[in-house]
Symmetry: C2
Subunit: 436 residues, 2 copies
């Protein structure tokens, strides 16, 4: 295996010989073998070990084991302790995803701080095969079947063409000791089932199955790359940037074949899962929306408008009496007493402070909101006001209201409510200015 | 299931209600249930049964069963008997491929003869799943994983969204009898292993696995279609038609990303399997070739030239004495006695018949061939002669020789050998003309 590893480095990652490498080591057989092979290949590497503190003494014993390994190999070692459970809780993540995030974030931090050229991980062919099946079982697309990347950003996985069996055999032959992996606990059941019940059947039918599978996956990866090439031709024709996110040209989408598949590819990284809803949007009435956990896709005449969901959406912000400034997420309000009305721009209003009920509130508009537009007679539904102004959906979505009790004082940057306006010259005048 | 089937027809194949249908029925549960469902959906169909004569009485009992079924259902039936083993032998095919060819060829024949609009087969979701695994185990690309087409050419498979379990349950509930499938014998072992050992593990992990899988496959099919769309943009830029086949523009190929993946897609239907050899051809010396069972790919300066392998290649054709015409695969030779030389075109020569040794032979040129070019002194290697004339590789490949014994008489349509030319006016003169 040493020879095969050297060949792999030479043919696939020749630049590693002149690089400063950070090697992720859990203490498990894969990463320990990788460390030994890197030593033999005379690569310049430093170890990095994460203690996720998920299994008390065992986690600490892993850390001790890695420390001893580093000492024996005479290579430097970074260790970091994480409160993985707390991080998972704080970020609503599974333990596994939390550990993953913490691990890669820390590696990236180390890379930048200590100027490592690359980060090496010990993923091997069977990991790739098991990931294939996990994704297949859960439901996926080409991207879930085409395998782990051997080389993405700064992360390199030089063992992807080696099997678990080869790695184990190498460890045993060379009397290398290791610790059982402490990570991946949450998928352990699934991976074990795949490893012990599925893969043996496949290998019984085709003893070279793993090798065959790697070839299949390299074809799938090529297919994936062709789709990316195709999309990169289409992107500029379909997607535009807007003030609030992106717009997708419906007319162009309808002209190209397989538009729904293209839409899927364009949107997959934005968390949309209900594909049928997205596809139907192409022919839906303007105003129809579909949501992912992070984004909103709105049908608006000729475009699909993609905007990030504003997490401040349902919040109501308060502005107390006697404040000169109020810095809120949507922008800053400044309050000043003035003698006369001298600025006609839409980013400010002049009002009679005696009519205000403090604290003022700032909120998004809602269906059913009504106000008394300055310069008009009677009252008006805000939805009709927006319609008359021909606001696009994201423009409506991003409209904020300054309110006094239940009453609207200002459709911010658009129109004042005349109930609060100055009616005689001897009144106190407050100028409210809004700036982003 | 009746309702679900009617819905499937209505939503996916509405045109079937007004079509004349040929329904392939083996006598197995899938096709018998399909026949019943088509009857209930009031479709206009005729049955077609192939007796492959692979299992003696059992095959005949299947045929009798289908005949009784047709009678009971009051629908017409076509039956054809095949000597599958002989056909497989004659065409160097596996029994399974032979049966497949015979079946689809016959269905197509029936379709054309009796003007059926569509041919229906009873493939279901589990067939698609098993095919996925068979291809995965043997090694494949996206095309082997994306599933059986529900609708390709005139063949429609309306049960693809139904599971084997549903079909069996329907047959049992409705007391429908059937015969165990007599076809697919050669993959029975493989399919059974997948059915009884692999799929249960997947379903244990995800009880809705089959449903999930169908969604995954529909995504894979979309991916496949995107690649086809992309290639249809690239085709006209890369591929040209030549006299002998196709040319692929190497310079263009080198400009686009992932050129080897594109090459794979362009060539996959021509039987090339040694992909690394094909990829290397892009940078190889002119003259380098790669073969599939049916085609030859030649590197020629700026192009890869794709030509069909001439199956007559190694053959030597004979022309007996005293023939006026000889019609051979590469063209027709005509022989006539003339008084004088009056035609200087390259498609004819004038020779002294007394120097000829009959039968004459016609064959392709070979490395090492030497001749005495008319109009030149001395002898010349044929390879040098071609080089001087700057023939492209396919032009060389398609050069034929007319020979007398071991001696070349004529490099056909290119140059006569002077050893056979007329030397004095009192000789008998034979004009040999070649035409395509």
């Amino acid at each position: 295996m040493e020879k095969a590893f050297k060949n792999e480095i030479k043919s696939q990652f020749p630049y590693l010989s002149n690089s400063k490498i950070l090697l992720a080591v859990s203490g498990g057989v894969d990463s320990v073998v990788l460390a030994h092979l890197c030593k033999i290949a005379k690569l310049d590497f430093t170890l990095a070990h994460c203690n996720f503190n998920l299994r008390d003494e065992e986690s600490d014993a892993d850390e001790d084991f890695v420390a001893a390994l580093a000492k024996k190999m005479k290579v430097a070692l970074f260790v970091e302790n994480f409160d993985t459970e707390q991080y998972a809780k704080d970020n609503s993540l599974s333990i596994q995803m939390a550990a993953r995030d913490l691990r890669y974030d820390w590696f990236e931090e180390l890379r930048l701080k200590h100027q490592f050229d690359f980060i090496l991980t010990a993923h091997h062919a069977n990991d790739s095969l098991e990931t294939f099946f996990i994704n297949l079982i859960r439901g996926t697309g080409l991207e879930g079947l085409s395998g782990i990347n051997a080389d993405s950003n700064y992360i390199i996985r030089p063992l992807l063409n080696f099997s678990r069996k080869e790695i184990l055999a190498y460890a045993e032959e060379n009397k290398i000791s290791w610790r059982e992996d402490s990570t991946n606990a949450s998928t352990k059941y699934l991976r074990n089932k795949i490893r012990h019940e599925l893969v043996p059947v496949l290998e019984e039918i085709n003893p070279q199955f793993l090798e065959t599978f790697l070839k299949t996956q390299s074809h799938l990866k090529e297919n994936e790359e062709l789709i990316e090439d195709y999309l990169s031709l289409l992107y500029p024709k379909i997607i535009g940037k807007t003030e609030y996110g992106y717009s997708l040209d419906i007319n162009y989408l309808k002209k190209v074949p397989n538009s729904s598949a293209i839409l899927y590819q364009l949107l997959k990284s934005f968390g949309f899962t209900e594909w049928n809803d997205v596809y139907r949007l192409l022919d839906a009435q303007p105003g129809k929306m579909v949501f992912s956990t992070s984004h909103r896709l709105i049908k608006d005449r000729d475009y699909l408008l993609l905007t990030e969901i504003d997490k401040t959406e349902d919040k109501v912000y308060k502005i107390a009496k006697n404040e000169d400034f109020a810095m809120l997420p949507m922008g800053t309000f400044s309050f000043s007493e003035v003698k006369e009305i001298n600025d006609k721009r839409s980013n400010c209003i002049y009002i009679n402070p005696e009519k205000l009920e403090f604290p003022l509130t700032v909120r998004k508009w809602q269906q059913g909101d009504i106000f008394y537009p300055f310069g008009m007679k009677g009252k008006k539904k805000l939805s009709d006001f927006f319609k008359d102004k021909k606001l696009s959906l994201p423009e409506k979505e991003n409209s904020w209201l300054l309110c006094s009790g239940e009453k609207i004082v200002w459709v911010i940057n658009q129109r004042a409510d005349r109930r609060f306006s100055i009616t005689s010259s001897d009144q106190k005048i407050i100028k409210i200015t809004f700036s982003l």
